[in-house]
Assembly symmetry: C2
DNA sequence: GAATGAATTGAACGTTCGTTTTATTAATTC
DNA sequence: GAATTAATAAAACGAACGTTCAATTCATTC
């Protein structure tokens, strides 16, 4: 056989991307074979090479688009530059958690498969990551300068916050006892306390365990 | 040739473990080949099979011993059960960061290579991990019950703290601008604020950016 | 409805993988 | 110093890997 009835390049490419994200997130890039991926898509292995020249190209494409989407999401979610730092931090945390919970698989790939990239492509991804993290560092520094935050070390605090709020994808599973909104408010409250902003902006969001379980 | 002069099974096994931890941490379990590992040890691939029956057995051994060492380290570092919750939390954070900074490679392996384990071995490791994390949950719950902490959700807060303090191994490199002690104090201060214990126990550790850079 | 391009198959390439087997040498025991 | 055991080398196994190539069929254009 050859070309199949109803075949469509755009649909096939999208199916490859979707299947690849899920398989790589679950088993890792090295562990996923092109045959395995092709079988999941419902196609022969050779067909994959019409869309991605190599296995690594496929991985890089997924990671690159994910990082660009993350930065784009923040650009459209961040408040005006004259907003106060607490509002900016709130927007950052909220956007980050929502974005990552919506794309758990893609985030896993972007965070775990860096070592499968060639040197120059690794640098491309790390540069995008740094661009994003710099946004948080700016918020923290401005807030600290304005006396709104208590921060010992801006870079270290930024890393700590990002590790904490990205970690949600490790344990969160849909149909969990907590809704996405509850989780977001919870992480936000912790972040505001962590940065010393708790007293001025977070109390209204704080609820106790019992209320969470009841709701 | 065959047995080499001065060869010693104990030394060879230790060399295999050390090389395996480093290689797996850097490249991932799937990406490391037995030939590559053997070359690093300075031995032929077949020699590895005298010490570990399969590649997965080697990985599991490394992860299992690491998790048991982590739990043992906490058992010998945790204060008496009549100590207050802030002291217990302080001991937990301090022990965790020191332990992980001393074993960055092994921690990387234990955290990233879970998907290379068979189902029953995965369960063994996850069970040990749960044992460890339960210790933190107990501290948080006791402190919340005693009114020392402000915690919305014990399980979620425990996950957030562990993600945050384990994340130190991702960015920390020796000969960094911050010493291990400074990093530990910094994470401790953030954790105490995050749990709402900041006002009563952490101020004496807080220092500003400028002082860190100067020190 | 012939010509052209897009989409895919089927088969194969050389390479590398984890692992096994057998033989050989070094250390230890008696 | 012979017998035994521990430690390794050397070579090979079949299987699976990423990838390529030619052939073939579907869809579109004119």
């Amino acid at each position: 056989m050859a070309r199949t009835a109803g075949s469509d390049g755009n649909r096939t490419e999208a199916a490859i991307r979707d299947a690849a994200v899920e398989l790589i997130a679950r088993h890792g890039h090295e562990a996923v074979t092109m045959r395995q991926l092709a079988a999941r898509v419902g196609v022969q292995p050779a067909a994959l090479y019409r869309y991605f020249p190599t296995k690594e190209d496929l991985l890089f494409t997924l990671m690159h688009e994910h990082m660009q989407a993350l930065i784009a999401a923040w650009r459209s979610a961040c408040p005006n530059s004259d907003a106060d730092s607490i509002a900016a931090l709130t927007a950052f945390i909220t956007n980050h958690i929502r974005f990552h919970l919506e794309r758990r698989h893609a985030t896993h790939v972007s965070n775990m498969e860096l070592r499968s990239l060639s040197a120059d492509r690794l640098e491309t991804i790390l540069s995008l990551r740094n661009t994003y993290e710099t946004e948080l560092r700016h918020i923290l520094r401005q807030g600290a300068d304005a006396g709104l935050f208590v921060i010992e070390d801006t870079a270290l605090t930024a890393m700590a916050i990002i590790q904490m709020i990205t970690g949600v994808i490790v344990w969160f599973r849909p149909d969990e006892r907590l809704s996405v909104d509850e989780i977001t408010q919870n992480y936000l409250a912790m972040t505001l306390r962590l940065t010393g902003a708790g007293a001025s902006g977070s109390e209204k969001h704080v609820r106790q365990d019992a209320e969470f379980r009841a709701g």
